[in-house]
Assembly symmetry: C2
Amino acid sequence: MLHRSMRFCELATMIPKLDRSKPCEKVSMSPTPPIRRPVTLADVAQGCGVSRATVSLVLRGSPLVGKATRALVEAELAKQGYVYNRAAANLRRRTSSSIALVIHDLGNPFFAEFAAGVDEALGETGFVTLLGCSNESTARECQVLGSLVEHGPAGIILSPAEGSDTQQVLSAIGGQTPLLLFNRDLEGAAPEYAHWDRLSMDNQRGARLATEHLLGLGHRRIAFLGGLHYATPFRQRRQGYLDAMHAAGLSPQPEWLVESAPTRQEGARRASALLQADPQLTAAVCYNDAVALGFMLGLYANGRRPGHDFAVTGFDDIGEASLSMPPLTTLSTRPRERGRQAAEMILARLHTPHTPARRIVAPVELQVRESSCRPLFPA
Amino acid sequence: MLHRSMRFCELATMIPKLDRSKPCEKVSMSPTPPIRRPVTLADVAQGCGVSRATVSLVLRGSPLVGKATRALVEAELAKQGYVYNRAAANLRRRTSSSIALVIHDLGNPFFAEFAAGVDEALGETGFVTLLGCSNESTARECQVLGSLVEHGPAGIILSPAEGSDTQQVLSAIGGQTPLLLFNRDLEGAAPEYAHWDRLSMDNQRGARLATEHLLGLGHRRIAFLGGLHYATPFRQRRQGYLDAMHAAGLSPQPEWLVESAPTRQEGARRASALLQADPQLTAAVCYNDAVALGFMLGLYANGRRPGHDFAVTGFDDIGEASLSMPPLTTLSTRPRERGRQAAEMILARLHTPHTPARRIVAPVELQVRESSCRPLFPA
DNA sequence: CTGAAAGCGCTTACAG
DNA sequence: CTGAAAGCGCTTACAG
């Protein structure tokens, strides 16, 4: 931790000093506007002949200050174009008005939507989002956490990179700041830090619902496509699929379980192989909507018609499945709402720091399309 | 502006005061770890019997401090788990280590990738990203800018909401902080603020290249699909299409120009109508990859085979077109690189505040697929 | 090479 | 109802 601090402090020396100290000598021919020292409370106070304290009280809407004085000060604030320096106020009050949000893959629209939800909810409460992207690297995650924590966030929302563990995270943030884990768990569970809140999706139940839906339509040869085995959500979703199959007395064939990166590209690429491995397949549960969409394109390219001769369902992590193409019956995870929920959880933690950790598993909703097709090949 | 400040100041009173002042009375049975007052330079200084100044010098890597002292201090820093308070340092030094990033639609993967690029490049320089989402609302954009500017960012990167104008933005940020406009221009050009940097994509040339590519393959009846007329990039892209068509001596039919929201849903929905309006169409330039992908699905659903009997090209804003389905010849805009570029531009502005504004139009690259098809219906 | 002191822009008891 | 003063956690000339 020492080294981290050191490194970032040294980085600070690279940051140019914005020299706003000397009032600008206005050169009339210069087309660029002069850089002025930002106006402070003291400037405003002097401008209208009251004390800094009074100006501060006006700003904070205190009832202690008289009507006339208030009007005077407000006019002066507007006139000088005063901008509140929240960093200074936070320092003095020992408060924070920011929350750090560390995302392992912002390029993934699921997490982008999540981030938008977090920011939206925080903004409504007067908090600001400190963004950090780890790009699925635990090393970068540590750096980013270390850097953000120096800005004194009141809390951290972390969607951990694959493989990041409790000790790493802990030593990066120092154990003072409340943390909320989103979507994934950390490795190396350390029970003494079980006070971290958690928010995740009910992946297992969702996959079970989707599989049961297909079984209910009469499908028997159902594939589970996409996702990589090291990801927690993958294991949970696959388990839900297996649960439903086993409960129906079916043994999924090994070739029905196909791992792939959770992308359209891979979904599309797997279609031919899957249809060759078992031409009798009539349905698939897809790991997420990206895989499902790619798989649908792959089906088309192989002369199949999803929704007519092949049933596809999948998790609608990203919102892609809400595409108006009918075949997909989807499992909705509503990432933006999850973002708002995460924001509310971490803010709640600030008011009640000593409450036991909350572990929320958000429900997943099956949205059935009319066109969900029955199998062409009876079992 | 006054009212804005006021509102946010009042919001501040909602922010709970993290009372870290009194050292925790450790209750041994409590399972939650004690909240300690964060350790400061003074604590460390006292802990190893040097002055605060010395500790500060050690942190900042100054050569002025002796080897032995340095080692002593470093040990103490590690022992106490010191976390640098960058806000305090920034206050004292009158510097800033953050950049505000305001995005009108983070759910759009193009802007999510852009944001990731910004954050990546900023992180490498020791800066932190203050995120704000305007959700395509100019009112929220003003709020968000007002809130972020109170945190004293060294610069602002703004991807403006549709319809936001110079005066609004200016009065929200106060005219002191350097600003970079990404992707869109503001309405109500005010020449005195022409010092704002701009970064956008060469939409017109890109669309022209794509159209010329199709013309070169022999296509004559080419549609331009998707996008909404009020968006600047739409008008630029459509203009590029029109330029190429006119240069080839062709007059695009009115029914070839179809506006729609830039989504897969709309792209898919427009396919049938477009094929009915002119069954002789052999190719389309799509506004972006979302539209193109939806349109491809729509073609399949209408019994056409993109890449075989219909040529599709489009802007690959989002990276969707890099889907391994062959039909799309794409125009790459590389949003993540644009993000890095924006970060570099705004950081450069800090070193050279009085340089004239830079207006960069990033090139767009045509990536031709082998499978680009020739028209089935000769002109 | 190290320490005492002033100050960044705010807030907040405490007098008056 | 208003003002003088202390202090949040740092940095930085300036002495020594």
